[in-house]
Amino acid sequence: MLEVKNVDVSYRSRRGRNDVLTDVSVTVGAGEAVAIIGESGSGKTTLARAILGVVKPRSGEILFEERDLVGLRGSERTAFRRSGQIDYVFQDTLQSLDPAVPVGDSVIEPVLVRSKTSRAAAVERGRELFDRFGLSQSLVDKRPAQLSGGQRQRVGLIRALIQRPKLLILDEPLSALDAANRASTIDLLTGLTGHGTALLLITHDIGSAAAITERTYVLWRGEIVEEADTAQLIRDPEHDYSKLLVGSAGSLLRHGSSKEARQALRRRLELT
């Protein structure tokens, strides 16, 4: 459904060309849950932005249901965005929700922008989702700053889901959540794939990838260094960086690599 093929993204600065992504290829099938694991500087946010058309690749293709996304012109791109087939959940809800707008209104904004649905109908759907996501109706008139981090996160999710996209791209959806909210959000997200929504999870937390996704790509310094079934990646990573990631991830079983192993990997990767 989504095919990213050999994408290069770079930007020019006074010091020359800065390659952010090099020859990146990713696919997400209909109803599939896929993760892109990367840390800061890996280029994962840029990849998301390229898919969303915020950033233009220097070369390569991005196809959604066989349709080219890179070459879309202004009005075509707006039309595509209005079709609501791909939606995006921001990591930082304090920035991605208008601080002056009540969350109830923020949540229905996509509906109002994209369709001729009446405001009343949109509000109704918004309230329905508030219920489904466990948010009290009393929050509808509050501003984002008046909600807790977990509540805001759910508002951001509702906004992205309100029109049932085919593909949902999420950027670090769990990072600001406490244990209980994390669990319920993960349940929610895995439920989505059950209903046919594809997920592209962009994160540095391999644990959430383990909980939500079937396949994982590992992104390091702008390149995909490994692609595997998530479970396989965790049990038997191949690339040194994948080994370091898996060995560094928080775990209670202490099955992961030892200090020495991690240090050796870091040295091999020239990280330390």
Binding site: A100, V101, V113
Partner: protein, 290 residues
């Protein structure tokens, strides 16, 4: 909603009453004055009495009447300065974010230059060049003060343009019109309103200063600054007299500044309450730890 916030506070009530009162006086001052401002209605330099609440000046004119009659010009001057500043500053401010680096750079540098000029001295210079007219002087002052509007407008536009919530709106296909009307204007208007109120107060001071210096309004027409200057001239013989115009100037300036502050507070109130609550329950950072 914002007005409600302003009204709930005592300062707000006072400021609003004063501001409205001054505006009324501004329009109807001459009609309200007990005596003609230009008429000698009693003995010169008379102290305050029941017939002349503020006493009389050196020419026997009732000071209260002169103040009431001069209110219109003084306040109008303040508003005029603000209007000029608003129109000259706001649009370039917003455009500086959208029109590209060259325009941005040029307008920023221009505003930096303008704001560096001492407006009173430039006003005096303009008067010397163009003759002793009040309107030209006020327009010039308006232009000199416009960088304030430029900066406020630019600041709001800038933070909106780079904000994630604007990106979010674009990602679900919102048009520029939608983004501007829903996300940018609602932030711009309160900010500009606050600036406007502050500028009226500043304009008031400017015109009082100018007329104090004898620029603009020709004697014997009264203005607050002019009356202040006159009464100061004979302060040794009538020590109370300068107090009255001063009080009016100070009160009016205060009222508009207070309104501006309260409008700003009203806008940010829910977030401030939230932040205060959050800070109270979580530890503040350590100061002075080794």
């Amino acid at each position: 909603m914002k007005l409600g916030y302003v009204l709930r506070k005592r300062t707000g009530q006072l400021a609003l009453v004063l501001a409205v009162g001054f505006v009324v006086i501004g329009f109807f001052g001459s009609a309200l004055a007990p005596y003609g401002p230009l008429d000698a209605s009693a003995a010169p330099l008379a102290p305050p009495s029941t017939s002349h609440w503020f006493g009389t000046d050196s020419l026997g004119r009732d000071i209260l009447s002169r103040i009431l009659a001069g209110a219109g010009i003084s306040l109008l001057g303040g508003v005029l300065v603000s209007l000029v500043a608003f129109f000259v500053g706001t649009i370039p401010g917003i455009l500086s974010v959208y029109l590209g680096r060259v325009f941005e750079w040029a307008s920023l540098r221009l505003m930096d230059t303008v704001i560096a000029l001492p407006f009173l001295i430039v006003a005096v210079a303009v008067t010397a060049l163009l003759g002793n007219g009040l309107i030209p002087a006020l327009v010039v002052v308006g232009v000199l003060v416009s960088p304030i509007f430029y900066r406020v407008a630019r600041s709001v536009a800038l933070s909106s343009v780079t904000a994630d919530y604007v990106l979010a709106a674009r990602l679900y296909g919102a048009s520029t019109y939608w983004v501007v009307s829903r996300h940018i204007l609602p932030k711009l208007i309160p900010a500009l309103a606050v600036t406007f109120a502050n500028t009226v107060a500043a304009g008031l001071i400017v015109i009082s200063s100018l007329s104090f210096l004898g620029i603009g309004v020709q004697p014997p027409a009264p203005t607050w600054g002019g009356v202040l200057a006159e009464t100061l001239g004979y302060i040794s013989r009538s020590p109370l007299a300068p107090v009255f115009p001063s009080v009016f100037i100070i009160a009016a300036v205060w009222a508009f500044h207070a309104l501006a502050d309260l409008l700003r507070d009203a806008e940010t109130e829910p977030v401030r309450r939230q932040t205060t609550a959050a800070l109270a329950s979580s530890p503040l950072s350590i100061a002075g730890k080794g």
